[in-house]
């Protein structure tokens, strides 16, 4: 894991001091709320329906157990004893007091954490494959590049008042676990014929009210030019985006309006200028960062055998673990999607419990996935049973990775001032309807994503089944979408037709699932069947 040096630490300590002064001036009335709002957003602080919400950055989703224990402490000391992991691999707290926010940032700084640029019109926390450094299928660990970009984009003077938010993701596998093409700017590590590292670059994706998939803007960019290239993209957007309508200021709109070819031409022209400035971090700095991400000291000669005599444990192993690149190890997915619970929510006690497990069994390392689950990246297969027992004792041994109850849902109208409808109860009702594990396993991979408004924080555009809550004449109404994906086969979901009330949408989901079961060929996922047979058979099942 990356460790701060005196420079990193001095920068985040200064940030705490700056924000403490800004909060003081706001409380004293020296600056207006309009002036303060972008400042607090750049420190992750939103004003929601009932209180302030603080979003803490978890760069590329990687945490140590010490950091997770601090997140638990903050939940206990400053919130209501829990936190909520988000679709950008961050954590947010929903019951924060403004005057305590600087103290929280000061506590975070003691464990090399911060809330910098987790909100507002800025370059957001960079997300990455949550299996980075452990995945059997990766070319190399993408996190050193993500950390390099974290530093390069932190307090970038030219790009701190952008037209809108800007989201970056980095992966290094053919399998996309980071929803690459739904980002403003996405990088996939590739190698050229000379085995040199570079990036396949995508630009202009995003969800919100007008979903666009990022398009491939560069097939191969030499890795060491990435900062110049990113600055060229940002500059084209920063200079030419509209500033008159907040809904039309995301980069995806500019790309769409200019056209991909013209946008690319402008970026390449600007890249020619920026490259000459020599702002790229040198190889030696990449190597310094990369050394922090050296693989942990994996043991050799470990047994691949897992004692499967406990049937509950065997089910959990089959669903929640995936292959690791090191023999004798597995990647463990910890579900935060208990049926009837709130997806992504974790109590302080559970955070401490997972931190203990990570410390004892996973080289002190944890990951947050964009699907709002946790990952223990490096567990010896021989330890899986003890890990399972410890997780089970903490109420965290649910079996549902990528199944119908592994639902992504935004906080919705229960918390969010932007929402039109509640998301959490809908997700809970769907999960309860499909709670039976045999039924879930029979249905197989099915990604349901629920958003409480068109801003799409619940990623409904990328759901195999998406649900969008809207306000229809003062009552909550839910639209059903089908056929989206956030994986390497990315596609936007399509609205089926008229919406439903809260119970109606649960029934509609069930009808779609049953139609899939009736139509599927052996081995087909819901999404595969939908793509093969098309929209009509599902529409007929849903609307009759």
């Amino acid at each position: 894991m990356y460790k701060y040096d005196l420079y990193d630490q001095a920068i985040i300590d200064a940030r705490v001091d700056e924000f403490r002064d800004q909060v003081r001036r706001r409380i004293a009335g020296e600056i207006t709320e309009d002036q303060f709002k972008p400042l607090r957003l750049k420190n992750g602080l939103y004003l929601q329906l009932h209180a302030y919400m603080l979003r803490v950055a978890i760069p590329y989703g990687t945490l140590s157990s010490r950091q997770l224990r601090m997140l638990a402490r903050i939940a206990r000391t400053y919130d209501r004893g829990y936190g909520h992991f988000t679709t950008r691999q961050n954590i947010q707290y929903h019951w924060i007091k403004l005057e305590q926010a600087p103290d929280i940032l000061a506590e975070l700084a003691t464990v090399e954490m911060h809330a910098i640029q987790t909100s507002g019109e800025s370059i957001r926390n960079i997300s990455a494959d949550h299996y980075a450094g452990a995945a059997a299928d990766e070319i190399e660990d993408p996190r050193p590049w993500a950390e390099l970009l974290r530093q390069a984009t932190t307090f970038h003077p030219e790009f701190s008042y952008l037209p809108r938010k800007f989201k970056i993701a980095v992966t290094a596998s053919p399998v996309d676990r980071a929803a690459l093409r739904w980002h403003d700017f996405a990088l996939r590590i590739v190698r050229d014929e000379a085995r040199d590292t570079g990036f396949e670059v995508f630009a202009g994706g995003g969800m919100g009210r007008t979903p666009f998939l990022a398009y491939p803007i560069r097939a191969f960019l030499p890795a060491e030019q990435i900062f110049s290239y990113l600055q060229a993209v940002l500059r084209v957007w920063n200079r030419h985006a509209r500033r008159d309508n907040i809904h039309k200021q995301r980069m995806k709109i500019l790309v769409h309006e200019l056209g991909e070819a013209e946008f690319t031409r402008q970026v390449e022209e600007e890249f020619g200028h920026v490259l000459k400035l020599g702002t790229d971090f040198p190889r030696v700095e990449y190597e310094r960062i990369s050394a922090h991400f050296a693989p942990p000291p994996f043991e050799t000669g470990l047994s691949e055998d897992i004692d499967r005599s406990d049937p509950e444990f065997a089910l959990w192993v089959d669903r929640q673990t995936v292959p690791h690149k090191a023999p004798g190890y597995a990647i463990v997915n910890v579900s935060l999607k208990k049926v009837g619970g709130i997806g992504g929510d974790v109590s302080a006690e559970q955070m401490d419990a997972v931190a203990d497990v990570a410390e004892a069994f996973s080289f002190d390392e944890l990951r947050v996935s964009h699907a709002q689950n946790l990952v223990l990246p490096h567990v010896r297969k021989q330890d899986l049973y003890m890990v399972w027992q410890a997780l089970d004792a903490a109420g965290l041994a649910d079996i549902n990775l990528d199944l119908v109850t592994d639902i992504i849902a935004c906080p919705g109208l229960d918390y969010c001032s932007l929402a039109n409808a509640r998301s959490i109860p809908v997700a809970q009702k769907i999960a309860t309807r499909f709670a039976d594990l045999d039924r879930q396993l029979d249905v197989g991979e099915l990604k349901i994503k629920v958003s409480g408004c068109i801003n799409a924080c619940g990623h409904h555009h990328a759901g195999h089944i998406g649900i969008l809550g809207v306000d229809r004449k003062g009552t909550e109404n839910y639209q059903l979408l089908l056929g989206g994906s956030g994986a390497e086969d990315a596609s936007p979901a399509k609205i089926t037709g008229p919406g439903f009330d809260e119970d109606g949408i649960v029934d509609a989901v069930e009808r779609a699932v049953e139609r899939y079961r009736a139509l599927r060929d052996p081995g087909e996922r819901f999404l595969d069947t939908y793509r093969r047979v098309g929209f009509e058979p599902f529409k007929e099942a849903i609307y009759g």
């Binding site: 420079y7 307090f155 790009f159 920063n238 500033r243």
Partner: protein, 139 residues
């Protein structure tokens, strides 16, 4: 009141619009509105003494790119941020190459001083003299 970070004497000639500047060969000061293309000024740096860049709203970040482009292109004259210019943006404005400020609301000199001194290090090179930490790390 204009806050200046330059040693030379202020250039008092009123700034003209970009269109006027490009056609009036005796003009030395130009005002650039948000969204105008400062690259049009590059052929005229030899007669340019003052560029005033408008900030209609402090959240409109186009002026930051305009300033960076001017400095990268070799402009060394006065570069002024005018309009909704606040203390909490002044560090970034300085780093982008602005060396004078004409805020609508006066700035508190003590807060400006703190804002400009607060961060001991920066992560990336910009139009100012600050040395990025990667360079400090590797000597």
């Amino acid at each position: 009141m204009t806050l200046r970070f330059r040693d030379d004497d202020p250039h008092e000639e009123p700034a003209v619009t970009l269109d006027c500047f490009l056609t009036q060969e005796d003009a030395h000061a130009v005002r650039v509105e948000a969204g105008e293309d400062v690259r049009q000024l590059i052929p005229h740096f030899d007669r340019l003494k003052l560029v005033e860049i408008a900030f209609p709203r402090f959240r409109d970040g186009r002026g930051y790119s305009a300033a960076c482009i001017l400095r990268e292109s070799g402009y060394t004259g006065e570069l002024r941020a005018e309009g909704d210019v606040l203390v909490d943006q002044i560090l970034f404005l300085r780093r982008c190459g602005f060396d004078s400020f004409a805020p609508v609301q006066p700035l508190d000199a003590r807060l400006v001083e703190h804002a400009l001194k607060r961060f001991p290090f920066v992560y990336q090179a910009a139009a100012d003299a600050a040395v990025p930490v990667w360079k400090l790390r590797h000597g």
